[in-house]
Each structure stands twice: as structure tokens, then as C-alpha cells.
Symmetry: C2
Subunit: 626 residues, 2 copies
């Protein structure tokens, strides 16, 4: 049901020939390699990647968000999951074999390699873009079958990629205390206190959002993610930042990082070239005492992980920065709330505008998404979108990761459900909101399904749970009403949201899929987004960003304390889509209180901004239900 | 608040001296060992163990269900968890150090060993009672610190245990088709078909309940668990049963196993001594072709696991027998239902009797438990209890694993809540039921708490969920009403229940603690037992055994099908304890329908058995609520 591109496949015969030549060339490898693995990621294991890192797309044509390519002397194969079977088959030419992950008959990468390789083969991979744990399991499987996994220092795709874009080096923004609540110096001190608690000498920071958060800096190297390419190594007395020095000429940034101010040496930053992180880390490790330990994320690249000798290496699933960043401080919370009020203003405008324009038959998925961006861009401190807008009409709404393209673009009408999942980056916060609306008269069945989803949304949002509860334990609350009538949705219920950072961040979430999430804590910010998707007909999703706050129920078992959620998103939920008879009194009360907050808080801002039509729309859409 | 025994600690000085001598004796070890590990379990990783396997208790005096002892030349240390801190400290003398697991400052066994051992130490353990995965992690930690883990073939506790009881060799019962629904031959054929599907040549069966289930045999080697000591190795053309041959003289059993009847050689059983399993397995492995694989549970002993060379070894978390056993066939379901009806008859009699007797002031926790056993023993096919009865009054009810002892025995009164968690083994099924009742007038607070627990019980029991859902996803449903007012309970919500087998069995369960449970399937039988415990005051638990059955909700998303639970336990839930105003209409309907079933089904059986007083009690206790 999805025709993702309509594009013809990329012609890859010549590229594959060049790659296979490189695999044998003494310029790159001491001995020929019989296979080369091309993972999806960048050297920081980012979810979104920059154009210069789209190596798997370059060699194969397939540009989905997940996929691993392996090229041998005879074969070229691509592993991807069910979301991308159709798209990959359309974007790749006949030189490629699609390996459909999740199907029983599909071999794993390891088993496939073992089945096609000649004896004693060497399999190459760039150690910078394969995570240490993936390296380990692949190396083990190959060696068990008499082959070996080989780190190829120069990336062989880069070697044959003539017009490869340069690594972005965008201008940095220094965020003041007004946005961050804590200076980067305070963050370094807090980090060091955690390091000293656990007797850690050094911490190697590899995740881009952790570096941005630590130094209170933002960039725009990767679309939608306000991050910049850098590494950091923090010791108890030194701070090293590995970054393109050209971007350090900006006076604001120099001042912010106190680069030209003599300061306490423990809090002065030593700059070094981005590329020198490996040699610097090796130099640091060479000087370690016998019991000294170095922290690095267990998701970091093989290259950096292996630079730390095993006796000194301490792998951690969630770094202290990841955990600190997830718990927003009062300033960040205030900023997130402000960003969401501004975002709500833009969406009220959008919905008021759509109501007027749709009857003319000229609004499409793409133009509606553009209009949403236009309204958002008028708000203070707007920086850009936080992810590609999902703007979908009727059957397109059932494609969960839909992005409208000219070939799929449908017109908004009075007859079909419209789902818009969108968000923005503002200097004070990141937004992510989904609303599902009907501009005519929804059918009884559409209302019924919408109401189940709403019940699930409220069940999570209003849930009270003990301190220390992990988010995955709340996932079933979102599904209960759907399950009761035999329905469900095949995605998680919520993800962590950064503060003017990545719209998806760990270590918390609400999903049936994981068990390794960290317990929820007051100050964490997540999405709450159950849905229902009827293939070929419509999609429904109701998403708010919510803040974890202390709850004060009647009792306090073992003094553990309780938590609940407070909606941060303040955009009306369309009452027309609700079968109000299906709601309990508690659910009605929740909805009326939510709409009261939307009216009071967003209404005041609309008034202040003089946006009269949107204010009228808001007041109409937030009338209490009986 | 728990005084588990009142016993004085065991005097262990002399025993420890003897053990330390054995650790240096060339009779047992080629070179002296500097530490010896004494795990809790038996060679089959049973939850309950026979007296001859209580080695950790023998050496230390501590008889809780969980604990590991380690003895070095200088130290003796015991690791156990929070349930047993008090008990262990009372049962062990000053030669022992209690290592409180779960506290931050407590070293792990590995770290403690490394901290106390001299350089290049040898640590011994009996490879038959340590699981292969525990061996692996311990060996790795020790070798990382320059020590080594050594398999000591003769158990050193057995070597110094003068009066060690013999391994039980109780009489076996052969279960006919009327109880099992499938002959053991049919089960072997089904097992082989799964083996051939996965290209497995041999399967080593080590869990006692799997062996009992496969051969439709029961024993009484371990209290409460109708199992017997044996191993089995099943190949595509042979079946070997390793068992004490003395118990094979019974004509019924010989006939059942067709030991004297010439039959198709593929289905004839070869008997061998229990002790010969290791040498036989080695002989089998010596004859394997290069690609042949042997299945063994990943929880099996190190000794048996290591007997299979790594290239042939296929470790499985849940064996095909464990999975087949969990899904009850129609005959087993019918048997479980019958057993629960008989069990309900006994409990109706108990509660009617208690009502009459308690006012006299002569009923205690122990005498009530004895009376329950007496009533149960009058029922057809009664074999014994399925676990020690938890019979607890007032504050004792808050001790989750309470078992009344003369020193703790309280009298049942009209003033305190009484909690009884009990069950039995019948030839047709295993029962496990908890009821919490008040024989006077419960306080408003007690009723409030009881009603939260009841709401949780109903939320699980009435839940509808998609095929393929794992039990842990239902755990929060049981807690939601408690969480809403700040309460909770610190145990799981449900466990699998065997059919005339162990009252606790895998691979399914309902708990926040695990993620590795297998999806629920129609035919599985579990407990549903939320609770609430107020330390020093009372305990509440409402437990039914429930059967997973297909549900037929309005819709059927992606044709996945839905499941729900059907109560198998049919004992009234005391209405006096309920604040009915707190129930929703759906909950009231559930309760009335449940009580209607109790009245109709158990009432008919009480009538048939002519138990008039209990019938009157049942009819009174099952009146519908408004």
C-alpha cells in the first residue's frame, strides 16, 4: 500500500566493480578482503545521519533509515526490516539481493557470509561505524567458521565516492543560562562527582546530543537534530573537545567556552582536531595507572572502544550524561512548556486555516505540512522542524512512518481523516505532537476507534505509579481499551524527548519491546502516542509530550512516593471524533480539564499575539463535554 | 517482625574444620583448593529439594529456600536475599558472615572471593549442582583475577556428612490416558518431530517435572512435588531412562513403560542406572557426526552440559517439553477443573467449620491448616499438599512466605483478618488458592485495601489481549487500582501451574520482573494473585488459578485472535470484605457471574457429596451484589 518513491533503482554495477577493486587493493588493505560490510550509522551511532555518512545509500540506492549492506566478490546483499521491503526493492537494481529481516527463511548476516565465503576469508568493516558489541558478535561467528573480521581503516565507500559531500561544520549556537539552567562548568563538576563516586578517571563522550548538552552548544550538522560533530574526553582535571577548529572562531562561542579567559585549569577546555580523538585517547590510556578505569558507552564505535585496553575499559549502557540529560531541570522544563505553547499557537492557526481552505479543494498533504511549518516559523526562537512532518490523508494515515511525496500526495477533504504528526526545534525546547481530525462527519466506526485510542492516551497520561517504575510497565495501559475489542497498534507508546535536542532520546520510553529502559523520574519528558491503523482506510494517533511529575495519592506505601504525567502539549483533541458515551466520568473529567488548560494557557498567548481567528477556533474546540 | 524459628544457631566449627581438611585432601582434590562453593540446588535445578540435597543447610544451619555458601581457609560466608536476612542470622553461628544481597555495600561472590583469596587460588565446586551459565561467569571473573574455578567430582559436603539421608526412591505411579490425554509414546513422537524440525539428534532431559510429564509417571521423591529422580536422553530412534532400577519392579510401571513387551524398537525404553547418565552421554557424543546437535536446557548442570562438546551443544532457554507441558490438553484441562471443584468443596467445608469454631477461641493458624488438609484428604484422588500451607492471622499475614510454627502460631479471632494460601495434589490436577476473610467486622480501611486487590485480580482475570502477548505485559493491570492510591505489593502477580506436577512451573508467568517469559497461549494455566501487605497489621491476597482461553471480541485485528482467562478456582470471594461502592458495573458483573459459577458447579458437587453445611455456607456467600 505504500509506493515510497516511484523512483527507478540506482544503477550500481560500476560502483560495485570499483568497491570490489578497492577490496583487493594494497592501497587500502594489507591482504585482499573477500567481503565488506557497510552499516547504516555514523561514527556516533546517531539515529539521523548527515549526507556524507549515507554510505549504504550511496552504494545501493536504498535510503531507508535502517539497513546493512554486505558486498562480496560475487554478491551484494541488503538486510532491512518489514517497514522497508517494498522501498528497498524499488530503490535497488538487480545487482542486489534483498534480505528480509524478520522472516524465518532469511539468513542472518553471519550465516549468509558463512554460506557464501570461500574458506579462510577476510571480512572487512570500518571500525568507526560498527558498534563494539556488533563487532564482537560478528567476529565470533566468523572465527567459529574459520574466517576473520578485519578493521579496514580507510572507509572503502569514501574511497570510491567521487562527489562525497563534506562533513558539515555549521555555525554553533551558545545557549545561555536562561535556556539551560546550568552552566557547562556546573555540568562538568556534576559529571566528575559521578566519576569519582565510581572511581572513574576518564569519560569518553561519543553521542552527539550528550556533547551538545554538556557544553550548552547547538549546531545544525544533521537535519532536524541541533547537534554538531565532535567528541569529548573528560578527566578529573582536564576537558578535551575534539572539533573542527574553524567553527571555533565565533566570538560568542569562544566567550561561552572561556577559550580566551584564563580560568581554573580544571575547567579550561583544550581544543583538538575532530580526527585526533583516537590518537589522544591512546595517549591517555598509555599513561593510566594499573587500576584506572575509563567510561565509554557500550554503543560506541569499535575503533574508540578498542583504543581503551580491556583492563581499563568500563562499558556502560547509559552514560551519566544520558541520564542527567533525560531529567530536565526547572529552566529546561519551563523552556519546554514555553515551546509547546508557541507550538500550540501555530497548530491552532493551522487547524483554523485548514477549516477555511479545505472546502476549496486546494489543500494537500504537502501544502498542509508546509503551512504548519510556516506558522511555526513565525514563533519566537524557532529554529527548524524536529523531524519530517507526517501529514497524511485517509489510507496514507495507516502508513505509520509516512512522509508525503509528490507521487503520493492526497488532497484534504471533508470525507477522510487527516493525521498530522509534527514538531519543531525552538531555542527553548523541542516539540512533537500528533492530532487526528475530521473536517466533515466521521463515521461511527472511525469515532469508535478514535475513542479507544483516546482512552489509551488518557490511561497513560493519568496513570499514577510508584517511583522507580520503568516506562515499559505502562505500555499495556495504552492498549487496554483497544485490546478489549480486539484491536491494537504495532508500535511503542512513547519515547524520551530532548530539550532543544533530539526528538528521540533515551534512556526512558514506554514500549512493550524493551526491558532495559531506566526507571521514570520526576522531570523526565516523554511522548504518549497510542494509535490505531486500518490498512487502506485511515490512521489514528493522539500524541502529547508529557512531563513526569510527583503525584500525591491518598497513601504512600513504604515511603516510595508516586509519579504521574502532566501534559506539556496543549493542543485541543477533536471532540467531533469522540463517541463521548464510551468515556467514563474520569475520562470526561480529564478531557475537560485538559481543554480548560489549552484554552487558558494557549488562549492567553493567542490573545497576546493578536491571532483572533485561531483564538476563536480554540475556544470553540475546547468547550467542555457533558 | 518475623521470628522465623526461635531456634538457636547450628554449631558449625567442627564441620567447617572437616570441610577445610577435605579441601586439602588428596583423596578428593589433586591439589588443595582455597575455597569451596556450596550452592542451594540439586542436580536438576529443582525449586524444592530432597533432604539429601540440603547441603548448604547442613554446613551452615541456614535452611531458607535461597542461599549460596562459600568456605575458604579463613572465612565462611552466606549470600541470601532480603526475605531471609533475619532467619539466616538466627540460624547461623558466629563462624559465618551473612552477605546481604541487594544492598549496595554487599560484595558479589566473585568480588568477595577476589578480595579474600591469596594469589593463584583454586576455587572448587561440585559441577553437578552448579548451572553451566553460573559456572561460566564465575570462571571468567576468577580467571580475570588470576584464580581458577575447579570442578571437584566428589561432593565435599557429602564426604563429611555422616548421617546424610539416602536419595529417595519412592514408588512410582503410572498415569493412564484418563489423566494425561496423551500416551508417553505420543509425547515422544511429538518431541521427535520438533527435534527433526530443528535438526536435533538428541535431547538430554534434566528437569524432573519434564521427565515425569514425558513418561506419564509420578513419584514422591521431593515433598509437595510429585516427581522422581531420573534423567532421560531421547534420540530419534532410542529412549534412555536413567533411574534407580529398584523402583522398576512394580508391575504397573513395567507394563506402562512396556518394558517387557516387544514393541517397535524406536519406542522401547532402555533403562540405565541414574548415576550412569554422564558416561552414557559422553558415549553418545563420541559417536556424533560432525553436524549433529544435542539439545540441553541452559539451566542444566555444568557437568552434563560440558559432557556435550561445544560444536554439538545447542542450549535452549525453554525445552520443547517445558513448552508442551505448559499448554494443557483437553484431558488435563478437564482434570484441573475437577481437581479445583473438589478443592473448592474442601475449602467451603473449611470456611463453614471456621465460622462455627472460631468463636470458641480454639482455632489456630496451625489447626486451621491441618483442618484444611483433612478436608482435602477426603476428596477423591487426593495425593498430598502442593506446597506448605500459608495460614496467617493479622500481622502474620503481612509476611508473604509465612508458614505457621509453634512459636508464631496465632489464634483466629473475630477481630483480625485471616489469609490462607493453600493447595493440593490430586491425581487429576494441582490446586493453589488464596482467600482472605474476616470472621467479624472488617474496618473501612481493610475493606478499602481488599477492594483494590480485588479490582486488580479482576483486571487481570477479565483482561482481553492479543495472541502472542507475554504475561509480563499484564502485570500492571493487577496493580493499577493500588497504584492509583499509592499502594503496591512487592511480588509477581502469577506463575504457571502444573497438572498433578509442580505448583510453580515455567515458561509463562505474570510479573514485572522478567522479560524472558514465553507468550501466553490458549490452554496455559496460571495463577492470578495480587495482594496488599501492611507490615505489622494484616495481609491480603486473592488468588485464583486461571486458564488461558480464546476470547471473541468485536474485532479481530490482522486476524491475530485474542485471549482471556477463565477462572478454574471456584471458591467464593468474601463479599463482607468488599466496599461494593468502589466497584464499577463491569467488576460487579464479573463478581456476580463468578459467584454464580461457584454456586452452580461447586454447589452441585457439595450436594452430590451430601455436605449440607458447606452447601448452605456456599449459597449464602454467593448471593449477588447490587
Amino acid at each position: 500500500n505504500t509506493n515510497c518513491s516511484g523512483m527507478s533503482p540506482k544503477i550500481t554495477l560500476e560502483l560495485l566493480r570499483q568497491l570490489r577493486q578497492a577490496m583487493k587493493s594494497s592501497k587500502y588493505v594489507s591482504e585482499p578482503i573477500q567481503a565488506y560490510i557497510i552499516p547504516s550509522g555514523d561514527a556516533h551511532q546517531s539515529e539521523y545521519i548527515a549526507p556524507c555518512d549515507c554510505r549504504r545509500e550511496f552504494i545501493s540506492g536504498f535510503n531507508g533509515s535502517a539497513g546493512t549492506a554486505i558486498v562480496t566478490e560475487q554478491h551484494a546483499a541488503m538486510w532491512t526490516d518489514g517497514r522497508y521491503f517494498l522501498q528497498a526493492s524499488q530503490q535497488m537494481d538487480s545487482n542486489w539481493t534483498l534480505m528480509k529481516m524478520g522472516l524465518k527463511e532469511t539468513l542472518t548476516q553471519e550465516d549468509w557470509l558463512i554460506s557464501v565465503l570461500p574458506e579462510n576469508s577476510r571480512v572487512g568493516v570500518d571500525p568507526w561505524i560498527i558498534a563494539a558489541d556488533q563487532w564482537k558478535s560478528m567476529a565470533k561467528a566468523l572465527s567459529g567458521a574459520g574466517h576473520s573480521l578485519v578493521a579496514v581503516q580507510e572507509n572503502l565507500i569514501d574511497a570510491i565516492w567521487v562527489d562525497r559531500p563534506a562533513r558539515p561544520s555549521t555555525q554553533l549556537i551558545a545557549l545561555g543560562l536562561k535556556y539551560t539552567g546550568l552552566t557547562w562548568q556546573e555540568k562538568v563538576v556534576a559529571l566528575r562527582s559521578k566519576m569519582s563516586e565510581r572511581k572513574i578517571s576518564w569519560f569518553v563522550v561519543t553521542a552527539l546530543d550528550e556533547i551538545a548538552w554538556l557544553f550548552n552548544l547547538r549546531g545544525s550538522d544533521i537535519e532536524y537534530n541541533p547537534v554538531f560533530f565532535a567528541y569529548a574526553i573528560v578527566g578529573m582535571r582536564t576537558i578535551r573537545l575534539f572539533i573542527d577548529e574553524k567553527r571555533m572562531v565565533n566570538a560568542d562561542v569562544r566567550e561561552h567556552l572561556q577559550l580566551d579567559t584564563p580560568s581554573s585549569s580544571e575547567l579550561s577546555i583544550q581544543l583538538a582536531p575532530y580526527e585526533s580523538v583516537h590518537s589522544e585517547l591512546c595517549a591517555i590510556c598509555a599513561g593510566l595507572g594499573p587500576r584506572e578505569k575509563v567510561w565509554i558507552s557500550d554503543k560506541a564505535s569499535c575503533a574508540l572502544t578498542e583504543a581503551i585496553p580491556k583492563v581499563h575499559r568500563s562499558l556502560i549502557p547509559y552514560t551519566p550524561l544520558c541520564l542527567s540529560k533525560a531529567v530536565k531541570n526547572p529552566t529546561e522544563i519551563q523552556g519546554m512548556k514555553m515551546a509547546h505553547i508557541k507550538d500550540a499557537v501555530a497548530l491552532c492557526e493551522l487547524f483554523a486555516w485548514l477549516e477555511k481552505e479545505i472546502p476549496k479543494g486546494t489543500v494537500t498533504e504537502i501544502s498542509a505540512a508546509d503551512k504548519a511549518e510556516e506558522f511555526r516559523s513565525q514563533q519566537l526562537d524557532f529554529v527548524g522542524l524536529s523531524f519530517p512532518t507526517i501529514s497524511s490523508v485517509g489510507p496514507n494515515g495507516a502508513i505509520i512512518h509516512y512522509r508525503p511525496l509528490p507521487e503520493t500526495n492526497r488532497t484534504l477533504t471533508l470525507k477522510e481523516i487527516y493525521l498530522i504528526d509534527s514538531g519543531a526545534q525552538y531555542r527553548d525546547g523541542t516539540t512533537d505532537v500528533t492530532r487526528t481530525v475530521h473536517f466533515g462527519t466521521p463515521s461511527a466506526y472511525e469515532k469508535e476507534c478514535f475513542t479507544y485510542v483516546l482512552k489509551g492516551h488518557i490511561a497513560v497520561s493519568a496513570a499514577i505509579f510508584p517511583n522507580g517504575t520503568k516506562g515499559h510497565l505502562l505500555d499495556s495501559f495504552a492498549r487496554s481499551a483497544l485490546w478489549d475489542c480486539g484491536l491494537d497498534y504495532l508500535h511503542g507508546t512513547g519515547h524520551g524527548v530532548g530539550c532543544f535536542l533530539n526528538v528521540h532520546e533515551g534512556p526512558c520510553g514506554i514500549s512493550y519491546k524493551t526491558f532495559a529502559d531506566e526507571p521514570l523520574e520526576s522531570g523526565m519528558i516523554l511522548s504518549d502516542e497510542p494509535g490505531y491503523y486500518e490498512d487502506g482506510s485511515f490512521g489514528i494517533r493522539i500524541e502529547n509530550v508529557v512531563l513526569v511529575v510527583p503525584a500525591k495519592p491518598k497513601y504512600n506505601y513504604r515511603n516510595r512516593g508516586s509519579l504521574t504525567f502532566e501534559p506539556v502539549t496543549l493542543v485541543p483533541i477533536q471532540v467531533k471524533m469522540i463517541n463521548t458515551e464510551m468515556l467514563t466520568q474520569k475520562e470526561r473529567d480529564w478531557l475537560n480539564e485538559y481543554h480548560r488548560q489549552c484554552r487558558d494557557i494557549v488562549g492567553a498567548e493567542l490573545e497576546r499575539q493578536g491571532r483572533k481567528e485561531a483564538l476563536d477556533w480554540l475556544i470553540r474546540e475546547t468547550q467542555p463535554i457533558a
